[in-house]
């Protein structure tokens, strides 16, 4: 199986020479490095609540290739879904390789190359997890080239220098490509000393995105744009009701429609294959399906299941004693968040070609290798005979951590022996999402005589995030006893509060819920940070001072204090509204990155309007500060969208709405005109960036509304 195959490949000493990489390949050379950068013990995981995106036995393998024109091609094991990873990886590699950033080209590794990440691209961990191994590998590669150059030039390696992809010494020069030409045996040195930060040329600089031109000129880089010769198009019928199964499908009319090549009936879906997409779609509408709908789910039914006190209980955090429920000084507030859709603009889909016992699939996916496994299993093929070719993603946000629909594309292709392209309709996207689960929270707190919290408790109920995901082996959940995805942001970061608790209640809902950018963080931070403000008001304290006083002075406590202080200072935070505008404060720490927001709002025509957001993030080393800022800006607005506009509901057994518009999202007019991002480098490694700033936004806005109107909003999406 793969595990074995991979093990064989990833020897630190193994060095690979490949010829002929199709259009790319002139001269190819590569090297593997084995690392397991975020493999932590499950217990450590439980403590930090960092989901183990790389799982056990996963390695971040990368592969360089040198082309004749001295271009270095980096086959990325992580996919590019907008987060700017390709640019960051190019910067990191360029610095250690001693090449110019423009000499580096980054492409997606496919499974045939053997260098895909075993687990996924997610958790904002791409740069963080590849930081060390990529630098080591690039530095090793540079030394290999130098060593070979020394032999070819007859100069001692100590007299050679490297710059811009050229080795120089003794008045002679050779490009890396020239050095590599005709070399079949390489000596791999021990990992050389890595560059000192002061000598970075590219890391830490706001380099423009390397995929910018492709995206500005409309290049066909996405899964949706992929084609294969002689390709057919397909559409698929799926159940619209939650839990429905197909009894029968009448395809007699559709079969005879223009362009229809074949209609494939499977267990719970029907695939229509036609010459063109519009023909497939027209035929789809002519098919009558009889569904068995065991239960007409309603929103009330879901809310009934999903409550603190119901489902599996897990104490995630426990310090000091429990609050006495009879104590009349205990303040209790309830919060909730709705079902959230991913709503990435590029629909899911795939182009598949299955022929002669081999499958090739071009797909936008965050789980390259898991998709390979799923297809191999479904078709009864060896993994080696399934090649998954990832493309640029038209958005990920966690939706593409399950791309098992590749199997459907493969089955359809197998049925006709020709390549088939198919993708979800928007309605299918909305009804067959793996949603952000709805949540319910009860916050309890009690002040002491100094007006600080003596006790703080967060009780929350959530549907699946990590549990039942293809990403996590069931054993991890069993060991932890909790849904570590739902737990993100659920613990109390104010460790100076003598008594604090976080208790999770987990329930699996009748529709798929799973990873959604920032996981539990959005709802958990909304509950905790709204409550913190409420308690500050009750104590008659400034909300910033109130928070600072309850953070401890360990390393993380200090880093959280730093972002809070900076946010207050940079925004000129004040409690009292001025000229109809109020400020709201909130903070969180997510997967090691503390973040604080101050928002400025007013109420216009009965609607909350966010004018300005000051966002302070401690992300450690910002490999590309401009792209870190872009991630913050995007997270802030996506957070506004989720916290103020978005909501899926269950009605008559179906999930609604099924289209943009009715599924209200932030548009241009809802985006704040000012977003002031301040980055703090509180650690000497790059830390997660793409999710932490989603956390505080809901609470910050709700806290501002409270200060402006006196009204405490407790349910997302916020409405007056």
């Amino acid at each position: 199986m793969t595990r074995k195959r991979r093990k064989k490949n990833v020897s630190r000493r193994k060095f690979l020479v490949r010829g002929g990489l199709g259009t790319l390949g002139v001269l190819a050379l590569g090297t593997f490095v084995f690392r397991n950068p975020i493999r932590r013990s499950v217990f450590e995981m439980a403590e930090t609540l960092v989901p183990p995106y790389d799982g056990t036995g996963t390695e971040a393998n990368l592969w360089f290739e040198i082309l004749k024109d001295n271009t270095i091609v980096l086959h990325s094991s992580k996919v590019e879904m907008g987060q700017g990873t390709f640019t960051g990886l190019a910067q990191i590699a360029a610095d250690e390789l001693d090449v110019d950033i423009n000499q580096i080209k980054v492409v997606h590794a496919n499974t045939d190359s053997g260098v895909v990440d075993g687990m996924s691209t997610g958790g904002s961990l791409s740069i963080a997890s590849l930081w060390q191994p990529l630098r080591e590998m690039a530095a090793t590669m540079r030394e290999m080239i130098k060593g070979m150059a020394a032999e070819k030039m007859g100069i001692s390696i100590g007299d050679l220098t490297t710059k811009n992809g050229v080795v120089s010494g003794g008045g002679k020069t050779l490009t890396y490509a020239e050095v590599a030409t005709n070399v079949t045996e390489w000596k791999v040195p021990d990992t050389p000393k890595l560059r000192d930060r002061s000598s970075y040329q590219f890391v830490g600089k706001p380099i423009s995105r390397i995929d910018l031109a492709a995206k500005v000129y409309g290049d066909p880089i996405f899964g949706m744009d992929a084609e294969m010769p002689n390709m057919l198009h397909a559409s698929v019928i799926r159940p619209q009701h939650v839990g429905a199964t197909m009894k029968s499908a009448d395809i007699s009319v559709a079969e005879k429609m223009p362009g229809v090549v074949k209609i494939v009936k499977q267990d719970n879906w029907v695939g229509i294959i036609a010459d063109s997409y519009t023909q497939a779609l027209t035929a789809k509408r002519a098919i009558q399906v009889d569904w068995d709908i065991p239960k007409m789910w309603t929103e009330e039914g879901i809310r009934e299941m999903l409550q603190v006190g119901k489902g599996d209980k897990m104490i995630c955090q426990k310090e000091g004693s429990t609050l006495d429920t009879d104590d009349s000084n205990v303040v209790t507030l309830e919060f909730s968040s709705p079902i959230g859709a991913h709503a990435q603009i590029e629909p899911n889909g795939a182009v598949a070609h299955v022929k002669d016992g081999k499958a090739t699939i071009i797909i936008s996916t965050q789980v390259v290798q898991i998709t390979q496994k799923q297809v191999a299993k479904a078709l009864g093929l060896d993994m080696e005979n399934v090649n998954i070719i990832p493309t640029y993603l038209g958005g990920g946000f966690g939706r593409r951590l399950n791309t098992s629909h590749a199997v459907q594309a493969a089955i359809l292709s197998k049925e006709v022996g020709r390549p088939v392209k198919y993708f979800f309709s928007r309605k299918e996207e909305f009804q067959h999402d793996s949603f952000r689960p709805p949540t319910h929270h009860i916050m309890k707190g009690k002040l002491n005589e100094n007006g600080l919290l003596a006790s703080l408790e967060h009780h929350y109920a959530s549907g699946d995030v990590a549990i039942n995901s293809v990403l996590l082996p069931g054993a991890v959940n069993t060991i932890l006893g909790t849904d570590i995805g739902a737990a993100r942001g659920g613990n109390i970061m104010y460790r100076n509060i003598p008594n604090h608790r976080a208790i999770q209640w987990h329930t699996t809902l009748p529709f798929a819920t799973s990873w959604w950018r920032s996981l539990g963080l959005l709802a958990n931070t909304f509950a905790i940070e709204s409550f913190m403000d409420e308690m500050a008001i009750k104590a008659g304290k400034d909300p910033v001072e109130f928070r600072l006083a309850q953070l401890n002075d360990d390393e993380m406590g200090k880093r959280i204090k730093a972002v809070i202080t900076k946010a207050a200072e940079k925004s000129g935070f004040q409690e009292k509204p001025v000229n109809g505008r109020a400020m709201g404060f909130a903070a969180c720490v997510d997967a090691g990155s503390p973040c604080a927001h101050v928002v400025e709002i007013s109420i216009e025509e009965g609607e909350i309007k966010v004018h300005k957001v000051t966002c302070v993030l401690d992300c450690g080393i910002a490999v590309n500060p401009d792209q870190v800022k872009a991630q913050c800006e995007g997270s802030v607005i996506m957070g506004i969208s989720a916290a103020m506009h978005e909501k899926m509901t269950l009605k008559d057994g179906q999930l609604y709405p099924t289209i943009f518009g009715p599924y209200e999202m932030a548009l241009m007019r809802n985006a704040p005109k000012e977003i002031d991002v301040v980055l703090i480098e509180g650690a000497d490694v790059p830390l997660p960036v793409g999710e932490p700033p989603l956390g505080p936004i809901g609470a910050a806005v709700a806290n501002a509304v409270k200060r402006l109107t006196g009204k405490r909003l407790t349910d997302l999406p916020l409405s007056l």
């Binding site: 910018l212 000129y217 990435q344 928007r426 995007g634 943009f660």
Partner: protein
Amino acid sequence: MKISFNINGEPKSIDIEDENSPLLWVVRDMLDLKGTKFGCGKAACGACTLHVDGAAIRSCSYPIKMAAGKNITTIEGLGTRENPHPVQQAWTEHVVPQCGYCQPGFMMATAALLNKIPNPTDEDIDNNIVNVCRCATYYRMRKAIHRAAELTTVSKPQNQ
């Protein structure tokens, strides 16, 4: 039936059975211009925005028969790397795209807006740019739109 139009400055004739087929699929699948994107098929997201006789159209909901005899411009015809449209130049300066999927639609919508209102206010932008970007790049887009307006009015043409 045969339908003729100009696309990105070139005359084209296509043979299509269903005259109500959306323009989007003709452009993407028959003419192999993949820059115009599919997002919803219901005129609700704007990913498929292109120009018909200079106006922004959501091509997923525009029957091909209506394009007969008209001038169509897609992102591929808006500008090139060598000769970018001011909107593309502004987008590049402000590093707007994240995943990039929605961006052609936004750039086409912006280019059409600037034809109509050369110097749009924030309110004009809010009212006219109503596409959806899930990566939520709106903050940089707004700046880029103002910059594109500046580039358009200051120097015309700016790419000699």
